[in-house]
Point group: C2
Chain length 253, copies 2
């Protein structure tokens, strides 16, 4: 493909905020927070209307090089008879991607009409919302006090009170909890204990937990509770206590 013509098409697409697709043989340099080099080969470049920039190989979900929305894109035809496409970002740090095409095999710009936004459900906050409706699924007699309580060192997912009026810090995780999550809970509880100078319980609520994290929790006098939920469309449905747990709770009551 003629580079001069390609250049024109690219400029027009950029001006109109269209989605720009370019494929061809190229090498890629990146210099910024890190640095990378990619020798010759055929890849696809995508520039979106918001001026995000991505270089894709024919594998992996994620681009091999990329630039966040808002970068500045320029093109030039070099002395070596290549088309050089630059993507520059200045903030928060200067970052530059240079794609040097020796050949362009494919170039298209798409004008995509799209007013709708993704509705996504099943995230941690969605689980929070369901939980505070009835903390009984975690433990009989548990009452929510505050959600997303901000502390000096991070924020607590749910702050509650148990039936004996002991404060309970609940850390909710939508997937299997590991050391990081256990440590996070520990941090909150430790700080609160110092602050209030009284007994504070800590519960890590997750679908599952790793052995090491479990051991760490127990070592620190913290608790793990299994979180049961399922998705229905974009909504979270909490599943109650398991029969065994429920029985136990009733027994102690």
């Amino acid at each position: 493909m003629d580079f001069s013509q390609a250049q024109q098409s690219i400029c027009r697409a950029l001006d109109n905020n269209e989605m720009l697709l370019i494929a061809g043989n190229c090498n890629v340099k990146y210099d910024g927070r890190a640095g990378s080099r990619l020798d010759e080969g055929e890849r696809l470049i995508i520039v979106k209307g918001d001026k995000s920039f991505a270089v894709h190989q024919n594998q992996k979900l994620t681009p091999v090089n990329y630039q966040s929305p808002g970068c500045t894109i320029t093109t030039e035809i070099t002395g070596n008879d290549t088309l050089l496409i630059k993507s520059l970002r200045r903030k928060p740090v200067k970052e530059l991607i240079q794609v040097d095409f020796s050949d362009i095999s494919f170039l298209t710009s798409l004008s995509l009409q799209d007013k709708n936004k993704l509705r996504l459900g099943g995230m941690e906050t969605d689980i929070h919302k369901e939980l505070v409706k009835d903390l009984g699924v975690v433990e009989q007699g548990l009452v929510p006090v505050k959600r997303e309580s901000h502390m000096t060192r991070g924020s607590i997912d749910i702050y509650a009170m148990d039936k004996n009026r002991i404060p309970v810090v609940i850390e909710v995780k939508r997937r299997k909890a590991g050391l990081l999550e256990a440590t996070q809970l520990k941090r909150y509880v430790t700080e609160l204990r110092k602050q209030k100078n009284q007994r504070i319980r800590g519960i890590l609520l997750a679908p599952d937990i790793t052995d090491k994290a479990k051991a760490m929790l127990e070592n620190d006098g913290l608790e793990f509770r299994k979180l049961n939920y399922e998705m229905q469309e974009t909504d979270v449905k909490l599943k109650g206590l398991q029969a065994k747990q429920r029985g136990l709770a009733e027994f102690f009551n």
Copy 2:
């Protein structure tokens, strides 16, 4: 575009592990770990040779819906005269994306010849490697003992010994450190202190640190050191101690 013809093109591209690009008016459903709905609009679908799957709107770097490499892709022409493309994954959890096209405005498959891989430098491990060559940039008299030492609870970046033969745990971060990083270091040091039952120093080495994280470190008797480095191509160049610090070190020596 004729759906039947589109279907054929898609099958051929999938068989040949080509990069498949499809644009058109569609709605998108996702059900799996979470759930999402995206009402009608024009988007670009990308299927790569390794069967990764992405739905892109004309904004943001990241796809609005996606599937990791290895998913199974099927197509069918529905009764409503739409072309339905499904992407299914079974492990680790069942996940399904359904893209229902009422119209396809663009369809291409690209055969990309590409044998080269990205060479990326400036990651945390690259900094480790430079550091252990001369820990003097961190503190005069510091000697490396072990790199990436695995513990019961996580792994230590660099384990070293100071000039007084006090063990030092060094946690390296390539960017500004926050509460999470401070907590991580604390976790390692705490465990090691228990294990060895002796004084252990902990140093968080990063280009910068947030105020809260700094306060937390000091509160726990841990230290922060500024990490100075710059990129040269794909290589990390450590910059020595600042003049002031160097002067101080020499003074105490």
